[in-house]
């Protein structure tokens, strides 16, 4: 049975954790906006969105 090991990687400070979380939320929001935008434009353009020149 393996012994329980102490984490020996990089340990983030509270400030680093906070800023990383902020950045992650901002990226998630930006991706969410992009998804909503593509969905909305698909609805607006209707069936024409499928009409593509070969």
């Amino acid at each position: 049975m393996a012994d329980k090991q102490e984490p020996n990687g990089i340990v983030l400070t509270e400030a680093q954790k906070k800023s990383r979380r902020q950045r992650s939320i901002a990226i998630a929001l930006a991706l969410g906006v992009l998804v909503v935008l593509f969905f909305a434009v698909t609805i607006v353009k209707g069936p024409a969105v499928l009409v593509r020149p070969m």
């Binding site: 680093q16 800023s19 901002a26 935008l37």
Partner: protein, 312 residues
């Protein structure tokens, strides 16, 4: 045997503490607000019906594209930003964001803004937006800015393109009207930035940027400001007699142009001491109001036409 003694290397990767505000600062929000406004005017002036969702998408992509240009500009210019009082507080000189982070951020935004505009609106507008970002970053920032005193004259084309991109987004083509908007911003840029450069010339000299006051001296700059203002006032007035914009715009252009010209003459005449500094600052501040006033008038004309077409 390993060439590198791994035990001797201290592995201490830099962990970013940059928050969202630092990344927003990379987008140059004040420049972005002017880009959004001028693009909005280009969009509403365009003929025909343009769906509000597509209009919103177009403005968003143009704004993000402008932000990408700002981030890439800060990536490339971090060395001179650190030497200038006006820019020393930007995220890279302050050590909040590294250059590779700014480069990645800028390239990602540039890619997504161009692709989104191309896919969702049209590829002509997407291509124009890509050209605008390329012109600002490669032609202006990398090539012209450190090389010639005409940097902001030629580079001004990048700042003048947003209403053209917006028109292209709405119509899929180009016409005289967006080119008139382009010319107004193009000829507005030199007097605006040279007024700034006159009272920041020490900053530019320290950073080694060949702005006109540093290279040719303040008096030559004052003459150039006056000459460009004369051309600007004429170019901004011309669309009315040529029949492209209405009388309200023509009169507004004449009044605002008169004030702009008077302030440029004041800068040309007052060359010494605090009076000269005050005259330059006044011209710089008014130039922003001038451009805003012209474009706001065009916007209001379109709104008035839409609300009460019989009166107009």
């Amino acid at each position: 045997m390993s060439v590198v003694d791994h035990n001797a290397i201290e592995l201490s990767p830099r962990i970013s503490e940059a928050d969202v505000a630092d990344y927003i600062a990379l987008l140059k929000p004040r420049v972005m607000s002017l880009v959004i406004f001028t693009a909005l005017v280009g969009l509403v002036l365009a003929p025909g019906h343009f769906h509000p969702v597509l209009a919103f998408t177009s403005i968003l992509c143009i704004a993000v594209g402008a932000g990408a240009s700002g981030a890439l500009n800060m990536w490339y210019e971090s060395d001179i930003d650190a030497k200038m009082t006006r820019t020393a507080n930007r995220p890279i000189p302050r050590g909040r964001v590294t250059r590779p982070e700014a480069l990645t951020f800028g390239m990602t935004l540039a890619f997504f803004s161009v692709m989104t505009l191309g896919i969702l609106v049209n590829w002509f507008a997407g291509g124009l937006l890509a050209f605008t970002i390329f012109f600002y970053v490669v032609i202006y920032t990398m090539a012209l800015k450190r090389w010639t005193a005409q940097n902001i004259v030629i580079g001004g084309a990048a700042g003048a393109l947003p209403p053209v991109v917006a028109w292209a987004a709405a119509t899929g083509s180009l016409s005289i009207e967006p080119l008139l908007l382009f010319l107004i911003i193009f000829f507005w840029t030199p007097p605006h930035f040279w007024a700034l450069a006159l009272f920041r010339s020490d900053d530019y000299a320290r950073a080694g940027v060949p702005m006109l006051p540093v290279v040719a001296g303040p008096d030559a700059t004052r003459l150039q400001i006056l000459l460009y203002t004369l051309v600007l006032v004429a170019v901004a007035f011309a669309p009315w007699p040529l029949g492209y914009f209405d009388a309200v715009y023509g009169v507004t252009s004449l009044v605002l142009g008169g004030v702009m010209l008077a302030l440029a003459i004041n800068v040309y005449r007052r060359r010494e001491g605090s009076e000269a500094l005050r005259a330059t600052r006044k011209l710089f501040a008014f130039s922003i109001l001038y451009l805003f006033g012209l474009f706001a008038t065009l916007l209001l004309e379109v709104v008035a036409h839409a609300v009460a077409p019989s009166i107009w």
